[in-house]
Point group: C2
């Protein structure tokens, strides 16, 4: 059994706690509290925190410890705009480079997402739906075939998660999701038809709409 070092375990847990909002933006991350919560010493904690600093989820002030990066409206807009640009780029390249297996993957992921639309109405499984949603969009962009580009995309996705989690709570039970479903269908059609321009416009809007909702919340 590959028992990974405790810094890695703490990293995953702490990252989740930040992305889900358990530790809210600007919150001071005291060593004593973190030691208590994750049951590890200071050194693994500092390793995990150092990594989160690189991911820009945590700030470090010298000799003054760590705190969760604050969220701002300017950053929200920037992240979502950039995500829209990067995702568009991925879609463009995927349409250019994708093969038949890629097409099949998209159809399969779209089917799974559509089948489980019911998850949206029960708050408990919102995260499960989000995972299917994520897998659907990944099925499309993976066709670009570039590990680096997909990594950039994932970084931005995770950075946006803190904001998105707000949006998910806000929209639970709202009908914004119906619009969402239609957008997915249109996107699949445009992508499979290799209609680059339409697909790029659709994916861009798909990402930017929640951002506009969120602006009102900050």
């Amino acid at each position: 059994m590959p028992q990974e070092n405790s810094a890695a375990k703490v990293l995953l847990h702490l990252k989740q706690d930040i992305l889900t909002g358990f530790f809210s933006a600007g919150h001071k991350l005291k060593m004593s509290a973190l030691k208590e919560r994750y049951q590890v010493g200071v050194n693994p904690l500092r390793e995990a925190l150092s990594q989160l600093v690189v991911m820009q989820l945590v700030q470090v002030q010298d000799q003054r410890g760590y705190r969760v990066c604050p969220v701002t409206q300017a950053e929200l807009i920037d992240i979502y705009d950039t995500r829209a640009q990067i995702e568009s780029l991925c879609v463009e390249l995927a349409i250019e480079r994708g093969d038949e297996a890629w097409e099949a993957g998209i159809v399969a992921a779209a089917y799974r997402l559509h089948s489980n639309a019911g998850l949206l109405h029960a708050d408990a499984d919102l995260q499960a739906w989000e995972q299917l949603h994520q897998q659907f969009h990944y099925a499309i962009v993976m066709g670009c075939g570039s590990k680096e580009l997909l990594r950039v995309r994932l970084d931005l996705y995770e950075k946006a998660s803190r904001y998105r989690n707000l949006w998910l709570r806000y929209n639970a039970g709202h009908d914004a999701f119906d619009v969402n479903q239609r957008e997915h269908e249109q996107l699949v059609m445009a992508v499979l038809a290799r209609d680059t321009e339409t697909a790029k416009q659709l994916i861009s809007r798909h990402i930017l709409v929640p951002s506009q909702v969120l602006r009102g919340l900050l």
Copy 2:
């Protein structure tokens, strides 16, 4: 005087040592050797190494320590292709959004780069030229106005540095630089004329040419 913690100092130094090739690809990074070289204990070292793992410059094998990420031709191609895409995107947005101050900055940076072309023939100052080169391209892309996009671009630039340093040594004294100079002039003209398509093609080629030279070296 803001005496930053030693992990941060080690990070900068170690990063340079990896990017410049002092620690070559695949090299095992033993704690004892690093302690000796940077004059610090294991904990600051582990912090710095953790951060480099996130930056994908260092790999960690559990209970088997750290080693410099290997370089492969596949990664080289992917990084440079992605850089070309991202830089094109930055240029496109910059042309769309840039103002007069942005234009002035480009002209100034181009002038400085052109004036110091002599640095190319003396090996000692190759890094100085590279810095001017970097500032020139930054002057162009900064017009896009997106911190996130510029950060992505910087990440890729740094990841490419290991490969680029090979290229710089290989090309020292060669006439590939003359071509380089002409490319810069053309790029400035296209950008200032707000000719998006030409500018994108030029910047893409500008990035991809060294990559093709490097393929032969790996």
